[in-house]
């Protein structure tokens, strides 16, 4: 697991939003901004970012993954830190970018420089900024899903739990299958939907047996998979990204696959901050 160096005063942080959060659920991005600002960071959102290149990389198309990685490396240079609200996209940047440029010393050096500065959101908040949420309440029994890349590539396990422990009212009901893959796997769930569904069903059944009200996690892909299946099954378990809960913004956005009726704009919530 990464160890932080000396943290500068009010560090500059580039938020790498991730393509899924950008399109599907901006409220996670705004929750991340809010948390980073509360932790004392200056947050920037570099405009030329798009996707980290993981879909192509995992499909074996290293050439296009390299092209995208070069663009991301350019976009994210010059900030003290880069923070990503997703374990798998953070893992792509931290673990796989340097491998992509194994045969190119100049780009490899740049990829390694980015790798050292990049952090998954919960890990950054806890391990680097020593952040603890204050005055947030979330009165629910939570089952936490440890997404595979964050867990096994980056060692993220305690950080989200530590953040949730600082939120009043939370109780974590650990599932035996917390660390089991939900069956999302990027293109896996599209190529092998039957297997993917059986995998997510097992996870959902275990969580339901445990009596949790909500499922939280740190990767929107997995959460969309779990929530999408829960919704199709007509189950009422709600699903949010951990950042939304820890930022106190869960009640401002309908849960993933939940009804929009109760939703007010996540943007206005952030906008009200001075």
């Amino acid at each position: 697991m990464k160890q932080p160096d000396q943290v500068p005063q009010s560090p500059s942080v580039a938020l790498f939003v991730t393509c899924l959060v950008d399109v599907m659920r901006p409220s996670i991005g705004f929750a991340a901004v809010s948390l980073l600002e509360r932790a004392g960071c200056q947050v920037f959102v570099p405009e030329t970012q798009t996707c980290c290149g993981q879909p192509g990389y995992n499909a074996g198309d290293e050439k296009s993954a390299r092209g995208i990685a070069e663009q991301v490396i350019e976009a994210l240079q010059g900030y003290d830190y880069v923070v990503v609200p997703s374990g798998s996209c953070a893992g792509m940047i931290i673990k796989h970018y340097p491998d992509l440029f194994a045969d190119d010393a100049a780009w490899r050096a740049r990829a390694e420089d980015l790798s050292v500065r990049s952090w998954e959101l919960t890990s950054f908040l806890v391990d680097v900024m020593k952040f603890r949420p204050v005055g947030i309440t979330f009165d629910k029994v939570i089952s936490y899903h440890d997404s595979c890349s964050g867990l096994r590539e980056l060692g993220i396990k305690d950080q989200p739990r530590s953040l949730l422990a600082g939120v009043d009212g939370t109780k974590i009901e650990e599932s035996d299958l917390a660390e089991s893959c939900c069956g999302f796997g990027g293109l896996f769930c599209v190529k092998y939907p039957d297997i993917s569904t059986a995998m997510v069903d097992r996870k959902i059944a275990e969580v339901s047996d445990g009596g949790a009200d909500v499922i939280l996690g740190g990767d929107l892909g997995c959460l969309m998979n779990i929530a999408g299946r829960l919704s199709r099954q007509g189950k009422s378990t709600n699903v949010w990204h951990v950042a939304e809960v820890v930022a106190g913004m869960a009640d401002q956005s309908a849960s993933i696959c939940g009804s929009h009726d109760a939703q007010t704009s996540a943007v206005s919530a952030v906008g009200k901050r001075p």
């Binding site: 399109v23 499909a59 074996g60 660390e179 893959c181 069956g183 939907p193 998979n225 919704s231 929009h260």
Partner: protein, 474 residues
């Protein structure tokens, strides 16, 4: 064994619809993984042993020719024979000629994945030699004429009730109305059936977990002792091994034994660990008169020096299979050939060809659990991805995947165009989702939408909202 790996999706669908199989698989993940975790918790130096085991095999693979030749010399010195077999066909004909020379009519077998790889049972049967599997699991699936579904637990796909049905049907000459529910009674019945076959066999065919270069010995582990009866009772013993099974010394073999059973079944040691060296010597009380070792390549030497070399460290413990969420969902037969799960999805394309096995490296979420439990530190997810790279190089991926990813990659490298389009898509889907906040049908999203709803985007993209909010409030 003929591969049906190209039919993986259909095989998997069949497995998912098989209620009995699903019942067995539901319990699968609670078995070996829990026992392994307990065994490892009792051994403080397990991680150091893993590193040492990996280093032993890396050293062997860098010096494979040296150790194989040393092994051959030692086998000769102890009075045995070594047969080099380039492929499965050579291995089959070599075994047949040894059996013919021994006038063999029956051959007992202890479990060997190489035996499955070269499909030796069918070949012997076609040449009027009866092969008899003596590992209980292999014996059961031989009665049922099924392939193994796991490399260490070949009949793991069957329930106790299915085994009882098979015994009642196949063990003729016993009371057909007997009840078989007690595993001990079933085991005794199988032993009684097998006992005479052990005694009658002309040739014993075993695998080998390791080949020890310094002594010319083969090492075999079992829990049933059947390998000992297979190699010790008949006049001729043939051991089948692939070339990467070699280790330099007995000390190295014992290092690997310390991680093998713990990783496989959670035992500290298998019940029987046997080292066999050469044929029966003058003063020995028992043992075969002839000792043959078949060294099979079958495509493995082609992996040396490639991005797939690390799979040759595999010691066939099955730990990656036991912890694989895909295997535990579809079982072993879906993979369509001898080796299932993560190690199989790396090895099968190498041995039967990526064209045939193209699904296997893709049928993984790359969750990474396999690598964390591999006692030999084999980077399985990295190699699954390497097969995908080869597929792209050979243009083997589907047209939809090629065009879809090509388009995505183009857009991702043109941020302005991407910004505009992604915002349009987000807004359109948001409107389509309406108050429900989700979508149940969309063109081109069948894979996802057949069993799941898609959450509707919340409105415009983050990037668009960010631009507006910051210019408004900052």
């Amino acid at each position: 064994m003929k591969s049906s790996a190209r039919h993986f999706p259909a095989n998997a669908r069949e497995a998912l619809a098989d209620e009995r199989l699903q019942g067995v698989l539901d319990k699968f993940s609670d078995g070996f993984p829990v026992k392994r975790a307990n065994a490892i918790a009792r051994l403080d130096e397990f991680d150091e042993l893993r590193d040492a085991a990996r280093d032993i095999k890396d050293h062997v693979l860098a010096n494979l020719d040296t150790y194989l030749k040393r092994f051959e010399s030692r086998v000769h010195e102890s009075g045995g024979h070594v047969h080099w077999c380039r492929d499965d066909q050579e291995a089959r004909t070599t075994i047949l000629s040894i059996c013919r020379a021994a006038n063999a009519r029956t051959v007992t077998k202890s479990k060997s994945m190489i035996g499955e790889e070269i499909a030796i049972n069918d070949y012997l049967a076609d040449h009027d030699i009866e092969p008899v599997e003596t590992d209980l699991g292999e014996y059961i699936i031989q009665l049922r004429q099924e392939p193994p579904s796991h490399i260490i637990a070949p009949a793991i796909h069957l329930s106790k009730e299915q085994v009882a049905e098979t015994f009642v049907e196949k063990h003729t000459g016993r009371d057909p109305d007997r009840t078989l529910t007690d595993p001990r009674v079933m085991l005794d019945e199988a032993r009684a059936e097998l006992r005479q076959k052990f005694l009658n066999a002309d040739v014993g065919l075993t695998g080998a977990n390791m080949l020890v270069a310094e002594t010319g010995s083969i090492a075999i582990v079992t829990n049933e002792g059947n390998a000992d009866l297979t190699m010790g009772l008949p006049r001729v013993h043939i051991a089948l091994a692939s070339i990467e099974k070699i280790v330099p010394t007995l000390e190295d073999a014992s290092t690997i034994l310390r991680v093998l059973a713990r990783s496989a079944t959670g035992q500290e040691m298998s019940v029987y660990t046997t080292f066999a060296t050469g044929p029966k010597r003058t003063d020995d009380l028992d043992g075969p008169e002839e000792f043959h070792v078949l060294l099979l390549d079958n495509g493995r030497s082609d992996l040396l020096g490639t991005e797939f070399q690390d799979i040759l460290r595999c010691i066939r413990c099955g730990s990656c299979i036991n912890h694989c969420p895909v295997y535990s969902t579809v079982g072993g037969h879906a993979y369509g050939w001898v080796y299932p799960g993560p190690m199989g999805s790396v090895l099968t394309p190498a041995l039967v060809g990526i064209e045939d096995a193209h699904h296997l490296p893709n049928a993984s979420t790359l969750c990474g659990k396999c690598e964390t439990v591999c006692p030999m530190h084999i980077p399985l997810p990295r190699m699954l991805r390497s097969w995908r790279v080869r597929q792209v190089e050979k243009n083997l991926q589907s047209a939809s995947s090629r065009y879809g990813l090509g388009l995505w990659s183009y857009l991702a490298r043109h941020p302005r165009l991407y910004r505009v389009l992604s915002n349009c898509v987000a807004r359109a889907l948001n409107i389509m989702g309406g108050h429900r906040g989700k979508l149940s049908r969309l063109p081109l999203a069948g894979g996802w939408m057949s069993k799941r709803d898609l959450p509707a985007p919340q409105g415009g993209t983050f990037m668009a909202q960010w631009k507006n909010s910051r210019s408004r409030y900052l």
